[in-house]
Symmetry: C2
Subunit: 157 residues, 2 copies
DNA sequence: TATTGTTATACTCTATAACTATA
DNA sequence: TATAGTTATAGAGTATAACAATA
């Protein structure tokens, strides 16, 4: 509930001011609203966006190293250390020593981690259906494609 | 340059993992990429997203109070105190005592603040043209409309 | 020398709660 | 009592740099 209280309380409902046409601001508001809605949906099971991203990425890439995970998540490796320790402490993932290279760890979800991810994925699916309802089913794919384009392409140059 | 260094260095280029289909994650990546591109464009003149939002909102609503500004920006009023002090120190805005109510301040841009906003708005326009190039001119309006819908509607229930 | 992960440190942004000065 | 703004405090998230262990 902590999560619910801290996010999405006050929002810029109609943040007029020449600003609504600006992509970055809109993206920020949209992201916050989307997360707040997701957190409301998942309730107690909620994981902050960062943790959820880690769980998803590890779930999709079992055995991934911390460095590779950091790159995939767009964060420095040093950022991951406490986050991974937290997820490990909660019993959601394991860090196994790698045979070939004793410097690195192979990250994997525990059964509890997989269960959590499954549960959250169900919520995410419902959440995505809300998106359809909100923007229309045809527009939805276009919007996601655009976001992907922005996320990937705009970083380049 | 500080700003440029701190943002948009490492990105999740192809953050596969069942996660790319998830709106929230995409929104986060898109926002960061968009801001990084904007910061790259504005260079020295860069203002962090929060400051920029304040400047835009005050520019559009001269005389707005801090509490009202906080609501418009979706942030608690206590958050604004240091941000406004900073903008005031930089000579970009003024906080004038209000005649009728001596508790509150009326926020206004200084000439320097207006100039800064104008300059940034020009960059923002160029930035928006990049968006057109990235997602196509027709899709652009649909995308912005969708984001507005998400930001506004999804917060509701 | 280079790489993996950790630690030390610092900075930004955010929130809540308690405070003041007004209303 | 209620509101506008400030201050004190705390927490999350992020980064850079230096480090130890290993390659």
């Amino acid at each position: 509930m902590d999560i619910l209280r801290s996010i999405g309380r006050k929002r810029a409902v109609s943040a007029s001011g020449g600003l609504e046409g600006q992509v970055g601001f809109l993206l920020r508001l949209a992201q916050e609203a989307s997360f707040a809605a997701f957190a409301r949906r998942t309730g107690e099971a909620a994981l902050r966006p960062g943790r959820y991203a880690i769980l998803s990425l590890v779930g999709a890439h079992p055995g991934i190293s911390q460095t590779a995970l950091g790159q995939a998540a767009g964060r420095d490796k040093s950022t991951l250390t406490p986050a991974l320790a937290d997820l490990e402490k909660r019993g959601l993932l394991r860090r196994d020593r790698v045979a070939g290279d004793r410097r690195s760890y192979a990250l994997r979800l525990t059964p509890a981690g997989r269960a959590m991810l499954t549960r959250l994925a169900a919520h995410a699916a419902a959440h995505d259906r809300d998106l359809d309802a909100l923007v229309g089913e045809e527009a939805r794919d276009a919007v996601l494609a655009a976001l992907r384009r922005i996320a990937g392409g705009w970083g380049e140059s």
